[in-house]
Assembly symmetry: C2
Homo-oligomer: 433 residues x 2
Amino acid sequence: MNPVKVGIAGLGTVGSGTVNVLKRNARDIARRVGRPIEITHIGARRDNPACDTTGMRISRDIFAVATDPDIDILVELIGGIDTARELVLTAIRNGKHVVTANKALIAEHGNEIFQAAQDNGVDVAFEASVAGGIPILKSLGEGLAANHINWLAGIINGTGNFILTEMEEGGRDFKDVLDEAQQLGYAEADPTFDVEGIDAAHKLTILASIAFGIPLQFSRVYTEGISRITTEDVASAAHFGYRIKHLGIAKDTGNGIELRVHPTLIPKETMLSAVNGVMNAVMIHGDAVGPTMFYGAGAGAEPTASAVVADIIELGRALTVDHDERVPYLGFHTDHMSDEPILTIDDVTCCFYLRLHVQDKTGVLADITRILSDNNVSIDALVQREVDQGLVPIVMMTHEVREGDMNAALAKIAALETVDSDIMRIRVENLDA
Amino acid sequence: MNPVKVGIAGLGTVGSGTVNVLKRNARDIARRVGRPIEITHIGARRDNPACDTTGMRISRDIFAVATDPDIDILVELIGGIDTARELVLTAIRNGKHVVTANKALIAEHGNEIFQAAQDNGVDVAFEASVAGGIPILKSLGEGLAANHINWLAGIINGTGNFILTEMEEGGRDFKDVLDEAQQLGYAEADPTFDVEGIDAAHKLTILASIAFGIPLQFSRVYTEGISRITTEDVASAAHFGYRIKHLGIAKDTGNGIELRVHPTLIPKETMLSAVNGVMNAVMIHGDAVGPTMFYGAGAGAEPTASAVVADIIELGRALTVDHDERVPYLGFHTDHMSDEPILTIDDVTCCFYLRLHVQDKTGVLADITRILSDNNVSIDALVQREVDQGLVPIVMMTHEVREGDMNAALAKIAALETVDSDIMRIRVENLDA
């Protein structure tokens, strides 16, 4: 089937991430869309060695992409406002669907852009503009569409959250952490947009419109930054049982809508307070669903590309009009199911927690550890507790082992006369990123 | 515009919740879909006083709904497998789109149902079948569609998580907590499906298919319950820095897929380990996006209805073919935007954290508390710290107050000669459900 043809304007961090994700996962993406996605044209002032653009047309003039008669979708990743606005409106007037990651553009000129898109019968998708790789706009506008949204509150600026996390965990002051964030590339040379809340206000504007069905009203967001927070404040908040987070809050009070970005004390035991470092998360409270939370990376090349490419896939599915299934029942098209084998549990490898009760005799522990060792089970930690009803409880943590080997070892240990055959074995998952 | 006509089979907990949500939020839902959603026909063996069905046709024979020529969408909420399968296939053969919350039906007969749906050119939506109100299938199949999914791990059975949470927090044993869960209505009289992991295995089957594009293979899921976990295990796990959670795990190892449900030790500091009580959460790790997590209520009348109604809205949008916008740019249709006012920050009410530095003189604190009281600010907690550079730091937490009142009070306090004018004021949000 004919590929969906994509033009990309801007080849910086997110642009190169988008090229890399579309190329690396091309096979799976074609299985999801029902036909391939092809990048045919890139507009960028300079090449970017972080991605391979072999076979793609390259223009130094980004407007050549927006007017290219050969593309179906323009992906705007140049950032900034004025040129991006002109580029997107040009693409729309040329009948292109548009995908953008540009929060400032949507928050400040979205109403105009959507009107132009409606007039020209094209779609504009902007999942990547809020909370990077978290599919928060789709979750809010589609997944929770049954609800009256009561409020939402989000950690939607990774730089700010990194600074507050470091201030709390290291007892360091704002300026000191900001310097480090700039060195790590988490903060711009001019950090105003991040630390004074403007970036978060752009994102909150977009979230609030989708939550409440109101026009985009960036100028009405109350915005306060984190630059005045001291280590004393962080410590005092902890004393009262709170953490300080920089939140964007939108709330339907019943007689008007609150839109505000500011440092906020939230109770330590709430889910949102566990969101640390550069990670983002948005809590949404709907009248039917109650509280929900969506968590993930809010920035970075590939997390943002994840959202950009999801939008391209969605438009690609919509463009694939000759197919019954817009979104296939199971996400992938039925005739593209994979026959990858399901492994038996014996082939699973993980660490184990073991609990067993043994007789209080010499040599028992030696027998057990020898059997474990013979079956490739190596012990990471072992605690022997006090004798309980004549038996000694032993708990241990193992290193990684094949489940089949662990079962063989346990069968032999359970057969020992000195060991109670009721052995408990629980798998350990570190859920490492 | 003509309403989308919905028939509902089954009027139990989720059925009545669905009726209530569709009625209560009818206006907003019509703004999202572009036309009204109308329940025209309900099939149920008996009425349910928990919802108002005035004006709806009621049949005692649920098959009368599936064959009703007047409905566009059949919503299957009867539960169970055999009759549900027959009902859904009947509806599909009659050209109806189907929405179902039935995890067992989809996990065990989904391949057959999707084939029938494809043959008849209709859609089948089942967001409510996994993790209740969390839009996890949409997030996985659409929001994260750009990714190769490396693994996912979910707390997808609220009953089991409630039991493990209570065992940990109260040091109580399995049987004791199970009895309480049965009294609270969290567990069935026969709790096998929940505590032995079958319910979670149904859900994992569905998640894995959408993650990896493989057919539904319920019979290949390795399943182990939580009934053998003791308080000793919970305490020993804590000793090693872990919590025990009952997880469904699907992992692409590169040479096959692991599908397993079992008790699992996970590090205390991971996000998933903070998910307590009957709440659900699913972590998904994609190659582009990295780790993400989706959290919310996994069961209950209205959380489940939230997902059922989201599916109805999605089908309703797809049926609204005479409209350019399938999913409107901002979730609500452009000509149905609301003009609800955005409140000024002065009208926001919340609790505050205050930090100020005052001279070490008698009467200063009295002046401050009098000004606060005169401006309707009442103090919840106050800590006076030791003198620092000639000034006494005071931090306090207030009760709820209008921001305008707080600002008026602070302006007067800052004007006192005995108070340093650099006063810090941070808002407190309890993020209460």
